[in-house]
């Protein structure tokens, strides 16, 4: 990969990678580290990207996802990385604006549910691309998304009456 090619890839995808890492980790510093490492990884091992397996953006978000989980594990050594919990962490719905509350609700999801929600709802990946990024099959991704949305529905139910006007 030439410098110019790399720069083009960086310019095109840096925001998506950073946004994803920010949403996953909840920390600007962690997001910056993760985004840096994603592109350093691409520089070092450009051959690992196989265009036949999917889009470059899904590939980069997959690397970011692995780094975000590594970050999560470092901070939650005693919590198993399971995606089976159907209960959501309660959140304080009296603090911050609606965007903040939604952010807290998404971040309260188990990591494997959270990443699926972020990749699909915010980064617009297809189910197949998400499956590639999170190294799971499409059925698993669908069921994680379903559980995540159920959790969010329950957690955010009190906000329904406070939704912003759509006009």
């Amino acid at each position: 990969m030439t410098d110019a090619e790399f720069q083009a890839v960086f310019d095109q995808h840096k925001d998506a990678v950073y946004r994803f890492a920010w949403r996953m980790s909840g920390s600007a510093a962690a997001a910056q580290d993760i985004a840096q490492d994603v592109f350093v990884g691409l520089l070092r091992y450009p051959d690992r990207f196989d265009p036949n397996r999917g889009a470059l953006r899904a590939f980069l978000l997959g690397i970011a996802r692995n780094l975000a989980l590594k970050h999560w594990r470092a901070e939650h050594r005693f919590e198993p990385l399971d995606d089976e919990a159907v209960v959501a962490q309660p959140i304080d719905l009296d603090r911050g604006d609606i965007g903040d509350m939604v952010g807290r609700a998404v971040r309260a999801l188990r990591p494997l549910q959270r990443e699926v929600v972020i990749l699909i709802e915010y980064e617009g990946l297809t189910l197949a691309e998400v499956a590639q990024a999170v190294d799971a099959d499409v059925g698993t991704v669908k069921s994680r998304l379903h559980r995540a949305r159920e959790n969010l529905r329950r957690t955010l139910a009190p906000l329904r009456s406070r939704q912003p006007s759509t006009t």
Binding site: D15, W22, Q36, V40, R77, R153, L159, Q163, P164
Partner: protein, 505 residues
């Protein structure tokens, strides 16, 4: 809420774009690749030597005056950098590794998939290959292992100090750095290998005099039965979830949930069946363990079967004291201690450090999955929970450290709670003796002994009367359940919370 409502809400959460100072770090890979494969063809040994110089330089700068080396805790060993080689070494990676061995920790027998050249930065390295005699390499010295050599000894040569080294390897691209040699049973896998979270069903024990893996302030669960005293270190329990054991009055399951900071012991039999437990899943940020005999799932914090053939049954709590190794050993010098398994023992110092830290000051917020949030206390404040009849009370450690003695009435029963702040050891007793209700006060700062106001007898913190009219009387122990507040409050709705203010009233 339908899908449209949810989608509309989700759109309200906006994330920032990448900051302008986010730049790809391009310089490092290209410069190092040039050393090996730039326009000038460099012979491989020279290239390796050049990289080694870089390695030594990195090692030296890392011990420079800008950061004082911290030898108090174990440092991580691991890969510092890896670069794919090209030219004559295409298909290989150059790898720089940091090696940090605490005293007493040694690597199991292993091989590397390439030659390794090392430089000792701090301390003294004991090393040997192919079962030859050990060689001690001082700081500034180097060691070399040819490709495929069996590394049979690798540790700090100084029993009181760690050793730090950097090593440079050339290995096939993408390959792991270490291949574990077939080892006899009982040796440890390399540090960093994830250990399975499985229960221990055939525990082994060592005598207190043989215990080198515990510090005085390490937290443990202590159990006594007949003449037997047994200690189960929290840092070991937290890596297994459950330990099945047999004490003179029957089988028990010693359990730990790291997310709730809960250590509980249950009688491991229900309706005449002995049960062996194994971690299954989390519910309400608390472990659920499955018994292997019936497949029923048991909530650790309550001991209740939440599904399976035994659904609705409840395990019986077994008396336990959560205390420190120093305190327990002083009280029971003949105690037996759960022997950590190879691979788990090496992780105990780090796990222990964390358990102590979160017990002292709980991290903010409840963990994911907590069922409800009772805001009367911080979610991860450690409390000693007590349930008598239909009444439940939470005694926050922060309040107990101040009060030390609590004379209370729970579920109609007079109770005394004794908290020794130096070891955060909490004990509780039925406060009646000889048909009389007693009230207590601390006899000293750490509440190691207490005095009852009614007879002026002196008692140990473990409910034994040491002196005075009631000498020799043992108060009946009441079982406390120490755990984080979110866990106690979510399973004991409407619980009362003890405050030092309520004690004064």
């Amino acid at each position: 809420m339908d899908d449209r409502d949810l989608n509309r809400l989700l759109r309200e959460w906006r994330a920032p774009d990448a900051p302008p100072d986010l730049r790809p770090r391009r310089a490092h890979p290209s410069r190092l690749r040039w050393l090996i494969t730039g326009g000038i063809r460099v012979p491989v040994p020279v290239a390796i030597a050049a990289l080694l110089l870089v390695a030594v330089w990195i090692g030296a700068t890392r011990t420079g005056p800008t950061s004082t080396p911290d030898t108090s805790g174990p440092r991580r060993s691991g890969e510092l950098a890896r670069y794919a080689l090209t030219g004559p070494l295409k298909g290989f990676d150059a790898v720089l590794v940091g090696l940090n061995f605490q005293p007493g920790v040694s690597a199991p027998e292993h091989r590397h998939p390439g030659p390794i050249l090392g430089y000792v930065v701090d301390g003294q390295m004991r090393t040997a290959i192919n079962h030859q005699s050990d060689e001690v390499v001082p700081a500034g010295g180097t060691f070399f292992e040819p490709h495929g050599a069996l590394h049979t000894s690798f540790s700090s040569a100084n029993p009181d100090a760690p050793v730090r080294a950097v090593a440079f390897l050339v290995v096939p691209s993408g390959s792991p750095l270490t291949e574990r040699a077939p080892t006899p049973q009982g040796t440890s896998p390399p540090l960093g290998t994830p250990m399975p979270y499985t229960a221990i069903h055939q525990p082994e024990f060592v005598a207190a005099s043989e215990v080198a893996f515990l510090q005085d302030d390490d937290i443990l669960l202590g159990v006594t039965s007949g003449n037997v005293a047994k200690a189960y270190p929290a840092a070991d329990l937290a890596q297994h979830g459950a330990v099945f054991d047999k004490v003179p009055d029957g089988p028990i399951s010693v359990t730990w949930c790291g997310v709730c900071n809960t250590g509980l012991v249950f009688r491991a039999d229900v309706k005449g069946r002995t049960l062996h437990f194994q971690y299954d899943r989390m519910v309400g940020a608390n472990e659920v363990q499955k018994d292997l005999e019936t497949g029923s799932s048991w909530q650790q914090a309550t001991g209740e079967a939440i599904d399976g053939p035994l659904k609705g049954s409840r395990l019986t709590l077994y008396p336990v004291v959560r205390t420190t190794w120093g305190e327990w050993r002083k009280r029971y010098p003949q105690t037996m201690v759960l022997k950590p398994l190879p691979g788990y023992a090496e992780r105990m110092p780090n796990v222990s450090k964390r358990i102590k830290a979160v017990t002292r000051v709980g991290p903010e917020g409840a963990p994911n999955g907590a069922l409800a949030l009772d805001k009367r206390l911080p979610a991860r404040e450690t409390v000693a929970g007590l349930e008598v009849g239909r009444e439940t009370v939470a005694y926050p450690f922060s309040a107990l450290r101040i009060a030390r003695i609590v004379n209370d009435r729970v579920g109609g029963l007079p109770i005394v709670i004794v908290h020794q702040p130096s070891s955060d050891t909490t004990t509780a007793f039925d406060a009646r003796a000889n048909g009389k209700v007693l009230t207590f006060q601390a006899a000293n700062d750490d509440a190691r002994t207490v005095i009852d106001r009614e007879t002026r007898s002196t008692w140990s913190a473990y409910g034994l009367c040491l002196d005075g009219p009631l000498k020799g009387t043992q108060l009946k122990q009441v079982i406390l359940v120490p755990q984080f507040w979110f866990a106690w409050s979510q399973f004991h709705k409407g619980t009362r919370v003890f405050t030092t203010h309520s004690q004064e009233r």
